[in-house]
C-alpha cells in the first residue's frame, strides 16, 4: 500500500520516465491496454513482437537454463469501486476533480470523526466474491492497518485483515489464440474491502532541495527540505477491493491474461471502470522461480509500477530471465526478498527497496465500525442479480459455433457482447452478425475513436441489414454502404433502401435489358471476348453493375451475362 503510493506519485512526475519512454517508442514498442472496445486479441498481437524479442542480452545466456526452471507468480490487484461516495463518508468521488475539494473530517482524519460504511461497498464486494466463486464470510469485520505516510491522514488504513469478506475462489479464462490458446483456472486466495489513500505528488523543486540536505544544514534549509510533497486527499477513503490470487500463474502471458480477465469481470459486473491508466485497477505481482519438480517456492520478488497488461507480462518475463540468469551463474542466493520497480523506458526491473522482515502494521479490529454481517437472503438476492459473466458468455458463444478468435473478440468488451447478443436476439445469423461487428463496425469504431455505445447503429437495424442481404433485397455491396450510413447518421435499413432506391434488381428481364445495353455499347470488347479474351467478363460485369447503380443481383447478373456473351458466338 505504502509503496504503491510512492509509485503512483512517480507516475505523476513525467520527467522521470519520459526520455527513455520516447526512445522505446522509436523501436516500435508501443502498446495499449484494453480500454474502449479494442479487442483483446488485437491488442496482444501488437505486444507479440515485443515478447518474442525481449530487448535484453541476458536472455540468450539464460535460455538454455530456463527450461530447467519454472516461475511461480501470484498477483495482488486493487480495484477501485465505482460508488458515488467514498467508503466511510458521503464525499462524492469523481476522477479528476480539483485537488482537495472532495474532503470532509472523516476522510481527512480529523479527531472525533467517525466512519460510517457505505452499503454499496458491501454489495459490490459480494458481487465480486460471488463472481470469483469464493466463499463469503457472513460475518466479517474491518481492521486498522497502521503505517505512517503523508497520504494517509489518519495514520492507519481501514482494511480487512484476518476475516476477509470473501476467500477461496477461482477465475476461469481462455488464453488468446495467438499465444497457443488454452483454458486456465487460477485460484483466488481472498477478496477484501479497504479504503484508498490520498495522492502524493512530488513538487518541482525536489531534487534541488535534496541536494541541499546532503550537507550539514542550517535551520532554514531544513524547512525547505521538509516542505516537499503535495497531497491531494480526494482519493483518500475511496473504496477498494483487494483481490489476491493463488500463486498459480507460470508465465507473463498467464499473469497478464489473469489481470485482463479480472478487468473484464469487474466491467461485466459494473463494479468498477477497471481503468489502469486512472489507477482504478492496479496490479502488484510476486515472482519466484524454482527448479522444475521442486515443491518448495523460491525467494519471491514483488514488482510494482505495472500500468498495463503488457507491462505485467513483460516485467514478469524480464524478472524470470533475471532470476534464471542468477541461478545459472550460481548466484541464486543473490535473489533476495525485495520490492522491484518496473521501468517502462528501460524495459527492466530495478531494486526499489529491500524487505527487512515483515512490516509491522499492528493490525487490530477497527473499533469505530461494527462487524459486517450478511444474511443468506441478501447474498442470494445479489447472486440472482448477477449478469452473465465473461466465462459463461464465452462458453455460450463457443456452443453457438463461433471460432475461439470470434468468441474472445466478442466477449472481451461487455458492451460489444451486449450489442452482439441484442443483434442475434433480433434473429440475425450468428456468424454474419459476428463478422459485421468484428469487421466493418469494429474498424469504424476504431477509426472514429468511439465506443460501440456511441454509434448510431442499433442492434435491431444490424439484424435487419443482415436479413435484407440474406433475403436478397439488397446486395452485400449496398449493404456495406447502408451500414456506414447507419453508423454515422442512424436511421433504419428500410428507410434508407426506400429513400435511396436501393432495392436489389432481381428481375431477370430487367437485368437482361441492362446486359444487352452494355453489350451493344461495347462492340469492340465483345469482339475481343469472343475472340478468346474471356477475362473481359469482369469488365462487362462491372459495366452492368455500374449501369444498375450497384443494384443488380450479382448472381443473376453473371448468369445472364455469361449466357449472352457465349450465346451468339
Amino acid at each position: 500500500m505504502m509503496a504503491s503510493t510512492i509509485f503512483r506519485s512517480i507516475q505523476n512526475h513525467p520527467l522521470l520516465l519520459y526520455p527513455t519512454a520516447l526512445f522505446r517508442r522509436k523501436n516500435g514498442v508501443f502498446y495499449c491496454t484494453m480500454k474502449s472496445t479494442e479487442a483483446q486479441t488485437a491488442t496482444q498481437e501488437k505486444q507479440k513482437p515485443q515478447i518474442k524479442n525481449p530487448p535484453r542480452t541476458q536472455t540468450k545466456t539464460s535460455d538454455k537454463f530456463s527450461k530447467d526452471y519454472e516461475a511461480v507468480i501470484g498477483i495482488e490487484t486493487h480495484v477501485q469501486l465505482n460508488t458515488l461516495t467514498k467508503a466511510f463518508c458521503g464525499c462524492p468521488y469523481n476522477y479528476g476533480s480539483p485537488p482537495n475539494t472532495s474532503v470532509c473530517p472523516i476522510c481527512m482524519g480529523l479527531p472525533g470523526a467517525l466512519p460510517v460504511l457505505n452499503s454499496k461497498v458491501i454489495e459490490l464486494a459480494v458481487k465480486v466474491g460471488l463472481a470469483l466463486n469464493s466463499k463469503l464470510s457472513l460475518n466479517s469485520k474491518f481492521d486498522r492497518k497502521q503505517y505512517f505516510y503523508p497520504d494517509l491522514p489518519k495514520g492507519y488504513q481501514i482494511s480487512q485483515f484476518d476475516v476477509p469478506i470473501a476467500s477461496g475462489g477461482y477465475i476461469d479464462l481462455d488464453l488468446p489464440v495467438e499465444f497457443g490458446g488454452g483454458h486456465r483456472r487460477f485460484g483466488i486466495t481472498r477478496v477484501h474491502m479497504e479504503e484508498d489513500a490520498g495522492k502524493l505528488l512530488h513538487s518541482e523543486n525536489e531534487s534541488y532541495s535534496q541536494e541541499i540536505t546532503a550537507s550539514p544544514l542550517p535551520k532554514y534549509c531544513l524547512l525547505i527540505w521538509l516542505i516537499l510533497l503535495q497531497v491531494d486527499l480526494n482519493r483518500a477513503g475511496v473504496p477498494l477491493l483487494e483481490i489476491v490470487s493463488e500463486p498459480d500463474m507460470r508465465t507473463g502471458i498467464e499473469a497478464a491474461e489473469y489481470a485482463a480477465e479480472l478487468q473484464r469481470l469487474v466491467r461485466y459486473l459494473g463494479v468498477s471502470n477497471g481503468n489502469m491508466q486512472e489507477g482504478s485497477l492496479r496490479c502488484d505481482v510476486n515472482v519466484s522461480i524454482r527448479p522444475i519438480g521442486q515443491a518448495q517456492f523460491g525467494t519471491k520478488v514483488e514488482i510494482k509500477n505495472l500500468n498495463s497488461f503488457s507491462s505485467v507480462s513483460r516485467a514478469i518475463d524480464f524478472e524470470i530471465s533475471r532470476q534464471v540468469l542468477l541461478h545459472s551463474q550460481g548466484q541464486g542466493d543473490q535473489i533476495t526478498q525485495e520490492t522491484r520497480l518496473w521501468e517502462e523506458g528501460a524495459q527492466k526491473t530495478v531494486t526499489m527497496r529491500k524487505k527487512e522482515g515483515l512490516a509491522d502494521y499492528r493490525y487490530f479490529p477497527e473499533p469505530d465500525l461494527p462487524g459486517v454481517i450478511l444474511t443468506k437472503e441478501y447474498v442470494n438476492s445479489i447472486r440472482d442479480s448477477l449478469p452473465e459473466l465473461p466465462e459463461v458468455k464465452r462458453r455460450r458463444y463457443e456452443k453457438m459455433g463461433l471460432s475461439m478468435q470470434d468468441v474472445l473478440f466478442l466477449a472481451n468488451d461487455v458492451n460489444v457482447a451486449e450489442f452482439f447478443d441484442a443483434t442475434i436476439a433480433k434473429g440475425a445469423d450468428v456468424k454474419l452478425a459476428a463478422n459485421w461487428i468484428m469487421g466493418d463496425i469494429a474498424a469504424y469504431i476504431k477509426n472514429e475513436k468511439l465506443t460501440i455505445n456511441e454509434i448510431k447503429l442499433i442492434p435491431q437495424e444490424l439484424a435487419e441489414l443482415i436479413a435484407s442481404i440474406k433475403g436478397g433485397t439488397i446486395s452485400g455491396k449496398i449493404g456495406k454502404e447502408i451500414l456506414f450510413e447507419l453508423l454515422a447518421k442512424g436511421g433504419t435499413v428500410k428507410g434508407l433502401i426506400k429513400e435511396k432506391d436501393l432495392v436489389q434488381i432481381v428481375d431477370p428481364m430487367e437485368i437482361e435489358k441492362i446486359v444487352d445495353k452494355v453489350l451493344s455499347e461495347n462492340p469492340k470488347q465483345l469482339e475481343q471476348y469472343r475472340g478468346g479474351k474471356t477475362k473481359l467478363q469482369g469488365y462487362f460485369a462491372g459495366q452492368v453493375m455500374k449501369l444498375s447503380k450497384g443494384k443488380a443481383n450479382p448472381g443473376l447478373l453473371n448468369k445472364i451475362l455469361l449466357e449472352k456473351l457465349n450465346a451468339q458466338s
Binding site: 460508488t83 458515488l84 461516495t85 463518508c89 458521503g90 464525499c91 462524492p92 480539483p98 485537488p99 482537495n100 475539494t101 472532495s102 474532503v103 470532509c104 473530517p105 481527512m108 480529523l110 479527531p111 460510517v116 460504511l117 457505505n118 452499503s119 454499496k120 458491501i122 460475518n139 466479517s140 469485520k141 497502521q146 505512517f148 505516510y149 503523508p150 495514520g155 485483515f161 484476518d162 476475516v163 505528488l201 513538487s203 525536489e206 527540505w225 521538509l226 516542505i227 516537499l228 510533497l229 503535495q230 497531497v231 491531494d232 486527499l233 527487512e356 515483515l358 509491522d360 499492528r362 493490525y363 487490530f364 479490529p365 473499533p367 469505530d368 461494527p370 462487524g371 459486517v372 454481517i373
Partner: protein
C-alpha cells in the same frame, strides 16, 4: 483508564464471552506482538481518554513488560527519559489487567468476530458535500492552493 474498563475487569466472567479474545492469523511469532496491542491502549488513554472495546491478540498469558521507548516510536511520539520512567509502571498496570483477561478459560466458547453485536449501521451511497471545507482547509498547517504540503520523510525505516 476509564470506568468502563474497570467495569469490564470486575465483570470478567460475565462479559468475557462477548469480549472474546480473538486470534489473529499471524502465525509467525512476532516479537512486537505485545507492544502492538498495548500501544493501542496507550493512544486511547492519552488522546481520547476513552476505552474502546476491541478484541486483540495476546497469545501468551505471562506478558512481557512494556518497552515504552518502542511504544513511543511506533506511535510517532517523543517522550523524555523522565516520561518513559513515569509511564512504564502505568502501562505495566494496563498490561497486567489484560493478563487477567488472558487467564480466563475460553476454550469452550466460540469466538465472536466483533465485540459489539448491535445492528449494523450502514449509509446509503448518496453524495453529501461537507459544508465547512474552508475552515478545515484553513486549519491545515501547511497549505498551498490546491495542495496540502507535507514533510517528505516521516518513516525512519
Amino acid at each position: 483508564m476509564g470506568s468502563k474498563a474497570l467495569l469490564m475487569l470486575k465483570g470478567v466472567s460475565s462479559i468475557a464471552p462477548k469480549n472474546q479474545i480473538f486470534n489473529f492469523n499471524c502465525k509467525s511469532s512476532r516479537s512486537s506482538n505485545s507492544s502492538f496491542s498495548f500501544s493501542k491502549v496507550v493512544i486511547n488513554h492519552d488522546k481520547n481518554n476513552k476505552v474502546r472495546r476491541c478484541s486483540t491478540t495476546i497469545t501468551q498469558s505471562s506478558l512481557e513488560p512494556p518497552n515504552v521507548s518502542r511504544l513511543a516510536e511506533t506511535a510517532r511520539i517523543s517522550l523524555t527519559p523522565n516520561e518513559v520512567e513515569e509511564f512504564a509502571p502505568k502501562i505495566r498496570q494496563v498490561i497486567d489487567w489484560f493478563g487477567q483477561l488472558q487467564d480466563v478459560d475460553l476454550h469452550s466458547i466460540e469466538p465472536s468476530i466483533r465485540a459489539d453485536t448491535e445492528d449494523s449501521n450502514l449509509r446509503d451511497d448518496i453524495p453529501e458535500t461537507f459544508e465547512n471545507r474552508e475552515s478545515m482547509i484553513a486549519a491545515v498547517p501547511s497549505y498551498e492552493e490546491p495542495y496540502i504540503k507535507v514533510p517528505k520523510v516521516l518513516n525512519k525505516e
